[in-house]
């Protein structure tokens, strides 16, 4: 235990150090937008992994779907941003419904790699349907951002504010979902699906519902991403994006509600820092990931919470 605490302390000190080195800092607004995008992606994925116990390795499919459908709608002209966002989220939820209907009844292992496989199908579809998506060049030509309700998303400050608003709204909604009887049922499915089935819950329907909800929130984060980069690229739907989302969750912790947000912040800082220092990005990220996974065996916040709980128990 003492060794684990030391390790956690060293890692935390490292992260705190990062913040003050100023390396790779690309502006607070920029960071806020990216934090909103990836924080939302990580929070939505944790509804599956942390709450429902479904380890999806294909979550970026819905991220990409949201980005592409929003981008295409806006480029077709005649759509206001709120309407396009709503339709993009609906389209993403529909995709999640189709994939989920096939995947959620499977065992844990099949589920992980079938979600991954369907994501790669979407990725190869984006690459080969050049007429619609622009292939590996991505959705070029920029995305028009007409002002609505006095919000001009072409301005970075407005976009950051809008992103933060979306993140906050989604976090509140997700919290309501998790705190509701529906959320309690999801946690029960995670802990003991057989017992949930005996009590008369339809394991399939609850899992599918969670999968679609998580997909819809990922779609919203994809929309924000396409607003941020003014386009959409095949890497959004590539498996590395899913891997990064899982990495963020792992960094923060899966059992604490806001853990994924902490993880996102750490991941983004780490990412900027490593990118500024070296081009061997994967080598360092991979090593850090292995140290945390094999060393702590849980996310940082999970670790802190358990440590505090253990200390409270030890106190007389």
């Amino acid at each position: 235990m003492a060794r684990d605490i030391l390790l956690a302390g060293v890692i935390l000190a490292g992260f705190l150090g990062l913040e003050f080195t100023g390396l790779g800092s690309s502006g607070l607004l920029d960071f806020a937008i990216r934090f909103a995008i990836f924080g939302l992606l990580a929070m939505s994925l944790n509804l599956l992994i942390g709450t429902t116990g479904l380890v999806s390795f294909g979550h970026a499919a819905y991220f990409g779907m949201g980005a592409y459908s929003f981008g295409l709608l806006m480029q077709s002209g005649g759509w206001s941003i709120p309407a396009a966002i709503a339709v993009a989220i609906l389209a993403t939820a529909l995709l999640a419904l189709v994939v989920g209907a096939l995947c959620v009844r499977l065992s844990e292992i099949y589920f992980a790699f079938l979600t991954l496989a369907f994501q790669m199908l979407l990725h190869s579809l984006i690459l080969s349907w050049i007429g619609l998506t622009g292939g590996d060049q991505g959705l070029m030509g920029g995305i028009p951002k007409p002002a609505f309700w006095g919000i001009e998303l072409a301005k970075p400050a407005h976009l950051a504010g809008f992103g933060m608003f979306c993140l906050l709204l989604s976090v509140v909604l997700l919290r309501q979902i998790i705190r509701s009887p529906f959320g309690a049922a999801l946690r029960m499915l995670r802990d003991n699906p057989d017992r949930a089935g005996f009590l008369g819950l339809s394991v399939y329907r609850y899992r599918l519902a969670a999968f679609v909800i998580a997909g819809a929130f990922a779609g919203l984060s994809g929309v924000l991403m396409s607003l941020y980069v003014s386009g959409a690229f095949p890497t959004f739907a590539f498996w590395t994006t899913s891997g990064e989302a899982i990495f963020m969750i792992m960094l923060g912790g899966i059992q604490v509600f806001l853990g994924p947000l902490v993880g996102t912040a750490i991941f983004l800082l780490l990412n900027d820092w490593i990118t500024a220092l070296t081009e061997h990005h994967g080598l360092f990220m991979g090593t850090i990931l292995l140290i945390i996974t094999l060393g702590l065996r849980k996310g940082l916040l999970d670790f802190v919470m358990e440590w505090r709980a253990a200390r409270r128990r030890a106190a007389p």
Partner: protein
Amino acid sequence: MELTELAECVTSLSCLVTQSAAGLTIGMLLFLVASGLTLIFGVLGLVNFAHGSFYMMGAYFALAAYGVTESFAVAVLAGIVGAALLGLVFERFLLSRIYGQDVLMQLLVCYGIILILDDAVKIIWGADFRSMGVPDSLRHPPFIIAGGVVPYFYAILFAITAVIAAVLAFGMGRTRFGRIVRAAAINPGMVGALGINTTLVYASVFAIGAGLAGAAGALSAPIRSVVAGAGVSILIESFIVTVIGGMGSIGGALAASLILGFTRSFGSIGFPLFVEGAMFIIMALVLILRPSGLGGRRGS
């Protein structure tokens, strides 16, 4: 969609022979990767998401050995041995720590390994596409069977993969080691109680699995481009094979690999843009109609 061309091809014997030969070769290469994946899962209970990386490393090792020795045999051997040794190192130091843990742990550790290997390859061999090209010693005129063209190198590939598959089947089915491995898959505690070193069994099974992936990578280095990250697409196809064939079933993996090989070779004539989609449709059908796969036991 050029379905009329597909119909013409299926009715003409020469085209049938050509495409079948290609399908067999592609299928057998896929089988090598997928059998390693299913073997590791069957015995170790570990989904090796990093399996494609061993395929990629096999190709790079072969490329390096071929550059030095100009011998295809040495290159393939280097691919197999290199990937197996690398697998051994990763199994001992990383993966053996997460046996019996949940899928999330396995996924994260494998993701870390993929990141590191992809970057290591870029550092050592550069980020460009590389290709070995068919070795001069194996450049012979193609076989003509019933008017169909079968490239000489494809025939060689098929022969080598068939030999490896036969050795694998014999080794797992008929030898003492194979019986131990099969027993360890069912009840490792009992195997250990009988005085057999299960740690060694696990390590060697992982090395064999990685070696099989490395073999496929080395063998396909002359006909496919070698690049960092090349393992992912073959990993996805191996997953599809495991779903169609049934998890842990070597026979099912063979049948499924050949089905996908033929889908790829004939699909490239009939529906070139939809080959991957067709594979997924086959997989979805198997999932709906027979969720345990072609070779899997029901209820597993």
